[in-house]
Symmetry: D2
Subunit: 342 residues, 4 copies
Amino acid sequence: MVVRAAVAGASGYAGGELLRLLLSHPEVEIGALTGHSNAGQKLGALQPHLRPLADRVLLPTTADALAGHDVVFLALPHGQSAAVAEQLGDEVLVVDMGADFRLKNAADWEKFYGSPHAGTWPYGLPELPGARAALAGTKRIAVPGCYPTAVSLALFPAYGAGLAEPEAVVVAASGTSGAGKAAKPHLLGSEVMGNMSPYGVGGVHRHTPEMIQNLGAAAGEPVTVSFTPTLAPMPRGILATCSAKAKPGVSAESLRAVYEKAFTDEPFVDLLPEGQWPATAAVYGSNAVQIQVALDEAAGRIIVISAIDNLAKGTASGALQSMNIALGLPEDTGLSTIGVAP
Amino acid sequence: MVVRAAVAGASGYAGGELLRLLLSHPEVEIGALTGHSNAGQKLGALQPHLRPLADRVLLPTTADALAGHDVVFLALPHGQSAAVAEQLGDEVLVVDMGADFRLKNAADWEKFYGSPHAGTWPYGLPELPGARAALAGTKRIAVPGCYPTAVSLALFPAYGAGLAEPEAVVVAASGTSGAGKAAKPHLLGSEVMGNMSPYGVGGVHRHTPEMIQNLGAAAGEPVTVSFTPTLAPMPRGILATCSAKAKPGVSAESLRAVYEKAFTDEPFVDLLPEGQWPATAAVYGSNAVQIQVALDEAAGRIIVISAIDNLAKGTASGALQSMNIALGLPEDTGLSTIGVAP
Amino acid sequence: MVVRAAVAGASGYAGGELLRLLLSHPEVEIGALTGHSNAGQKLGALQPHLRPLADRVLLPTTADALAGHDVVFLALPHGQSAAVAEQLGDEVLVVDMGADFRLKNAADWEKFYGSPHAGTWPYGLPELPGARAALAGTKRIAVPGCYPTAVSLALFPAYGAGLAEPEAVVVAASGTSGAGKAAKPHLLGSEVMGNMSPYGVGGVHRHTPEMIQNLGAAAGEPVTVSFTPTLAPMPRGILATCSAKAKPGVSAESLRAVYEKAFTDEPFVDLLPEGQWPATAAVYGSNAVQIQVALDEAAGRIIVISAIDNLAKGTASGALQSMNIALGLPEDTGLSTIGVAP
Amino acid sequence: MVVRAAVAGASGYAGGELLRLLLSHPEVEIGALTGHSNAGQKLGALQPHLRPLADRVLLPTTADALAGHDVVFLALPHGQSAAVAEQLGDEVLVVDMGADFRLKNAADWEKFYGSPHAGTWPYGLPELPGARAALAGTKRIAVPGCYPTAVSLALFPAYGAGLAEPEAVVVAASGTSGAGKAAKPHLLGSEVMGNMSPYGVGGVHRHTPEMIQNLGAAAGEPVTVSFTPTLAPMPRGILATCSAKAKPGVSAESLRAVYEKAFTDEPFVDLLPEGQWPATAAVYGSNAVQIQVALDEAAGRIIVISAIDNLAKGTASGALQSMNIALGLPEDTGLSTIGVAP
């Protein structure tokens, strides 16, 4: 199979990571690359690590430029994907790496994003119950947010097995690439090195309703999520510390058994041996998810910690994993569980 | 007043930070400096940033070396302070920067530290209710742990005012200096740069009972604390994200009012203006504590975030603040609320 | 003495560091603070580490705002200082932290900065021969560039003593604050963390003629400087590796003797003991300069390495040192040789 | 072809990076893994990023353990490779990632390493003139040092074309992984973050004679190298700033032409477009070398800057490139020029 892929938004971090992975995907041929303010520039100046594509010139993001491909990846600012997708035709696989089609609840979308809801596409987190079936053969994929990827994978087994009270507390640290490549003063190296700081505190971060959607589906009842994201002095990686009160009778053994069962056949989820804890450095550049669980008996809480690479499993390699399923390719084609460390 | 001060454990990070501050304390004269494996070496090779002390030679940590001072600071591994303190005489102010005399409950000490309980000294966190009275004129000070400093200051007002349910959830990120200067593989620069990882998960970190002690005292009832510490890729700083379910009727306004009242006269606590969030970089090298509060109405939780410098307010400058009180000096003598940034 | 000081450009990194130091300068009272695009904002939002000034509002940078002070510090983009200085009156001490008045040679200015030469003011690097005399009582000070500070201090003794051939080679690494606070994509944390990269290679960096001016004056003959600056993944600090061919007969002993003599009475220059090498972390936040020398006998080269804090000795505390001299204050008033480490 | 490969020293950084690459080398099957102090442990605890090998147990480094493989990689402390290699038999390809067989001159070896010279093996830097011929079919490969890789590739074209005077000046910054995984105090994260510092100054670094050997061979005359290595606050990467006086008549055009010719057919060397400069982040994890040249006309010097990943092209992927040649495989098998960024 030769899959011809276009990437809209090739100059950003998500687009760059996607191209890095597409370059070693055995079934994909890289087609048109588009940008907005960078249209007309060579990719070599924008993504100097992608040497084989250095002489590629970015086209403007138009339906014409994206036409004639088997797959089109959209790495666009939120709210822009629907207009592009409409012009692409039903036979093209469209993979939206933005937020536009993730939420099922239109009111949530409008509250958190402030624009009309464009719709809902099959959700590209294959490890969630039922997700693979919805992705198989689909022509539309909504790639999850990076934080919801880390948090949903950490907590859905506990909720699915009825172990946890429906009030989750999540504190996550993200590398700065999660904030994108637009130059903003608080993202300067001088500001972020040596610094930890929170943002979007108090339930206002846009990834909150997506976590609530996923965990509520697993629990079969409404779940609240108190989510605090923090910016960490590193380029990549998310470490999510997730907890919830344990329901009566939960033991450390029963908790671990549930997680072992949930992930035993998952090629990209690494439930670590007891005593070993996730580290973002171990999944740098890979599609792996590291997870560990604990029961804090004194506090009566289940604690699950996950580590992902926000640009890889959290965005670009996660998108490829879902693309593979949609196209009927082996799910791990072109993907790796090996991190680049130290 | 000339206060002659000795420092036991002058080659470590806590001892070094203490000396940095003592060098600009107007009432202190630096006396004997001692070390263990580094005894006999010049301080200039061990603490190259402390240029005025470069030619000082470290003595072995003995009662003889520490005799004849007005104040003796102990920056020793836990379990070693009691033996030294006993030999120092009741007229000497002994400031223990280790854990030995922090806990009131002997069973907690034995469970978390595995040795006999040495006793309890006045607790050197002046901002806690009643603390200043206990510190005034004392000859023995137990300097709090770095995490308990950040967490107790964040949550005691909420508990003191009866706003929060007695089940706190804390996730904190610490710079690597909190782990000390002993060379361990997981603390190598190659390992920690670009990496976030948790440790001591599930209620086993030794600072947990100290938080429980402080918050329980504020609440007037037992409080559980689910505490997850994480190691962040920066040398200094603690960012503590602390939350608890709000009791019925708590509003964002009543929450903020309680914090404004709690800290209005505190010289070192900076309740930030609404909309501004703590950042460890802003308190780098200073005795300041940055705090911000939020009410997550959807999740029903109070969220309080604090930032301190783990070596400064979290250890060495916190120790000096308490020393000032004990000696009857103005509390802010030799201390600063100005951070070194960027 | 109460010196009333205004700061034009208070929202940038140089202005912020200056304010940090002015806050603990015993003879200075901080007057007007001005900004350009940030005029009207509170300083607390822009410089959150400067807590005592948090409620100060930035004025627009006008002669009116700056009038009525004893000292005016200009931390403005190059080319803007002359117009402001002209309006300030001869009785006011004007300290230009920009480049405008550093170069003696108008052609050099025009070649490297592309605008008419505004003139030459006494050069604020007190350790250079003759500099203190020129600074005493002056009403105009040109603060040196950060790289020229590190490089000139490293090499002027060798050139002054006739030990080195007049062809210097300098490679220096700078922290990112040297590039300022304007948000540019290549200065994002995501770009600079984990990254070393050069810029301004081949003699085109604007600090090159300033080094040539200083070293030529020391040598008494023209000196060329091949200067390569690199951007290092840290907020602050300059490490300058400087070398030149040794003239015949130079020995390691004669080299060291020259440096010991040059710096023996200098309060802020720390010629390290043999075997110890400069480190930027050791001078973080301080006015100290660490220097070490070596003779590479096989290559026939003198190697001198210096470390400074680019914002402190390289800009703001260096400016204060010169201000102290100009005002007749003890040179070290309000300055420190103690770094904040680790 | 199935090449069975053993790795001695699998728990260190070089061994880990080699295993990361071997896992995706299509012709290699990973055989025995050995360690010294870590023998008996599972690799998952030591190299948590290498998930597919997590359950492999390290054997002691003995001839027995290493027997029966087609290729044996030695990632051992210097001085230990000869004894192991002798026992491996002439039919086994032995790739020494240590220093033992790099130098031709026994006196140099003894001076810099202090032990008897073990011999000289074909030198694994294929881009050097004549190197590929010596590597084809060989059963013994000496992998170059990381700094000599960066420096030799930067300067051999200038020396080979007679453009440069035989006195090179090199200042290079390395990530901390170059210093290995042994826990030493000065390599702690707390020490290296925010810090640039030199070491091995004055011609004493062990990689100096290797550079001299390579550049002298290119020049056809003795070349001196004044080499100053510095430790940079990043896990990986080398940025080498290399310069030498230009011989009379050298122009920017003739200089660039020589470099274009030298590297036009090299699959792993990326002579950047004019105006773009190397950055270590762009080659993170890849076998690529970024190079840029400049002529500083005022100083009369040729400046060549190269960036590599010290663990990849500088050690492990460089070793695989040479292995491919020795085995008759396409040179780029299992290797990549794509970096992981940001």
